[in-house]
Symmetry: C2
Subunit: 522 residues, 2 copies
Amino acid sequence: MSAFPKIPVFLKPFMPAVVAVIGSIPWLRTKASIWAINRAAYSTTLRPRALTLLADYTSWRSLTDREYSARHLPPATPEYMAGLPSESEVLKLFRRTEEKKDTDTSVMFMFFAQWFVDSFLATDWDDFRKNHSNHEIDLCEIYGLTKAQTDMLRAKHGGRLKVQNINGEEYPPYYFESKDGTLVVKQEFDGLHDAATMTRILTGVSYDRKKKFYAVGLAHGNSTLGNSIMNIVWVREHNRLAAMLENKHPGWDDERLFETARNIAIVLAIKLAVEEYIKHIAPWDFPIKMVDLIADRERWNRTNWCAVEFNLLYRWHMLAPETVGAGDTALTPADFLTNNKLIEDEGIESLIAWCSRARAGKIGLFNTPTYLMIPSPALNGFSVESRTIRLSREAQLKSYNDYRVAYSMKPFTKWEQLNKDPKVIEPLKELYGDIKNLEWYVGIFAEDYPRELMMGDLLTTMVANDAFTQLLSNPLLAANVYNKDTFTQEGLDEIENTKCFADIVKRNAKDPSRVYCNFAVR
Amino acid sequence: MSAFPKIPVFLKPFMPAVVAVIGSIPWLRTKASIWAINRAAYSTTLRPRALTLLADYTSWRSLTDREYSARHLPPATPEYMAGLPSESEVLKLFRRTEEKKDTDTSVMFMFFAQWFVDSFLATDWDDFRKNHSNHEIDLCEIYGLTKAQTDMLRAKHGGRLKVQNINGEEYPPYYFESKDGTLVVKQEFDGLHDAATMTRILTGVSYDRKKKFYAVGLAHGNSTLGNSIMNIVWVREHNRLAAMLENKHPGWDDERLFETARNIAIVLAIKLAVEEYIKHIAPWDFPIKMVDLIADRERWNRTNWCAVEFNLLYRWHMLAPETVGAGDTALTPADFLTNNKLIEDEGIESLIAWCSRARAGKIGLFNTPTYLMIPSPALNGFSVESRTIRLSREAQLKSYNDYRVAYSMKPFTKWEQLNKDPKVIEPLKELYGDIKNLEWYVGIFAEDYPRELMMGDLLTTMVANDAFTQLLSNPLLAANVYNKDTFTQEGLDEIENTKCFADIVKRNAKDPSRVYCNFAVR
């Protein structure tokens, strides 16, 4: 059972119309969304899982200590692992040969994905078994993961987050200050991020760029244009919500204003993730709805605990183009990595528009960009892609076919079932021989898929399973919680009236009419 | 909807036979247990709850920080709180006037209850809003709450816990050692318990008794004969299980032996809590079964989070008799509080037999024993009972009738619906006037109940709701986990073959034939 049923080819031309009808009838949209969500959520066994990466047997600690990533399936046998091709051979399967672009996905989608996913899939640098997130959609990108971090980021008046004013607009404050010509962490942000992590992240970053590092919730929150843009927008949105609440509830203290604005902001993030981001991934932009309270009725509503498979399958490195846009104004990696100066010079609106018109890469083998294949001292000599392959080996994941079976699909017996393109399957045949030996991390990116999808069958199903059960089991969406006591009526109205990320960008922009923001390239 | 349906009086004489039939037919017993468990579990709204004691509004922290006790209902209005009688007037309602004994409950039941409940209802001494347990049945009584504590208690060979040999039997090691005539915490247990808590607990405890303090998982693990007896039995059982596993799996290391023995021990504790302890509370000893995997199918399976109401309603101080047993050999509070020497002198079997033949007090008003009504410096000048009343006021709990409604019961309009005994209701009428003003903590203990029950309707329903949803959502009972990979086949057999606490005492006793252990006085 894959996440989406097979549509016969002769019906496909009618699907955009069918989907449009579903989207235009509210009760039908809700019913269809519940069906789609549950189809994905029940495609495999439910949490709690027996094993995490702590050990290969079940213990009280493995069942309760969420520092360690969960795992969907137990480890493969040593025999299976020993028979796999070398990591360097596998790495070659990912190297971009000619740049392939996605049908309609924008670089803005890619930046949203990175910013969003980094909040709950935070692999520890020194112990790959650990995920130091809270496993929830909690907007830790702007609030931090702990109360101590949140306190450092709060203005402590009017429920606001700390901001600075640049060109008449709100930006997060700088993290460093200059002392005797060197940059030191501001006293107020002492302890916000782990020093060793910061050293690693700042390897090779120039003084001028370092100077403009923003103090935000996560250490890598400044690592790309996208992360910084998203943080700027969400900090502004938080402060806008707090101001709105302060206006309506003059008796509320800083604490209540802050917490209520945060409640609203988190649900906005979940809503956009479902109704814009997942919708874009779904075929024909199926208008999936954030069905609040759905989780209350379902058996899949269990404590969130991100699995190592979720962590690995979400590494959509291929989305990254060689340059953002084309021509003289194309942004190179040197432009879009750790570069807040560019944002302050150009303004976020112009960059968002640029990224919304630039196409992202196509997900699949042979399409990881060059700069994610270069070994780096900051990654202990790995490249982004080779580190990922290493993690999949260290986690001793079972085969691609084993995962198909675990997600209620038939295992493949012939390479042609996976992909008909000889350029994809010939190298795989050579490396793995029989398709039953194909390793999972390669298999999910080797799957062929039709134009209306963004990735293959097993990858779509697995990401939908983990994403829906994580997003919709958020405590803010529970029956006792999702009401105006938690959000205020104004807050519920904000949630209702926000349809896409562009809405949020617009209401926090100097000139909303200039905003163009889209996850799809039209 | 109360936890148990009303049985017409004319049918009651047949109920023991009906219950016996249900108990003798396995599928019927399972069906009836599922029915009873779900009836209690769905009697009120499900977790997650909107509020904890952190604040009177919902915040991300209140939804995720389990340091703070949850609450079933939001706080009462200031007007309601202001209209309540003084705490000292309310305290008088609890003072034992003449000692009333329960129909058939033994002191052994009471000791099990105390030992069991202290593991998940651990109110912080300085901030009553906090519960520093893990909210789970985790046998922290013998394993501690954190990995650091567990490590101190482990022998680190053969999966065993540390023990000492006294008279040829295993006991937990002593916590203190004598240095220059004073008792100091042994180096190996440095940091096992919070120093301030230990000072409080040891106030007024003699050198001789302090010397015999056992190093166990919780600071108050030595506070009564019952706590010490239970810890001794469970430490022996853990080591017996570890030895059994070591014998069957000679290749396993200390870690795996320890963790697997712990998995088995925790499920044994849950099984006994359901099948012996809750069974005793249920009418006619309804043979309730620990239905493994039930939680996987149910919507009430949500992250455990103990509520302040659960914490307060479980203070069955009235179970405590003035003395355990009668005659010259009766044990006075001075005998049964913090007295491990008595245990080592008498041996646990003789004390267990004594406690199994002594009747516990009857739950209700006017029956809290004298020694729990005496203000103590260790309780900041409160008595055990007056501190409880203070906590219920600090939590600003709504009225008894509000809780009836929240648990799907009709509110009472007349005092006689609560209790027909004028000795109970006259003082209540005087203090509260209208029954709608009756406060919850008093109301649940003022309820009348028939012989076949141990407590009133709302109290039974509330305790059943919290207990079942907590016990059975334990991760060890989940579909992916409850199997021989987690427990081994021998472990599953141990679980299957253990029917009552006496079984565990017997298999760890020098002379099993001498063991008499029972939660009911026959």
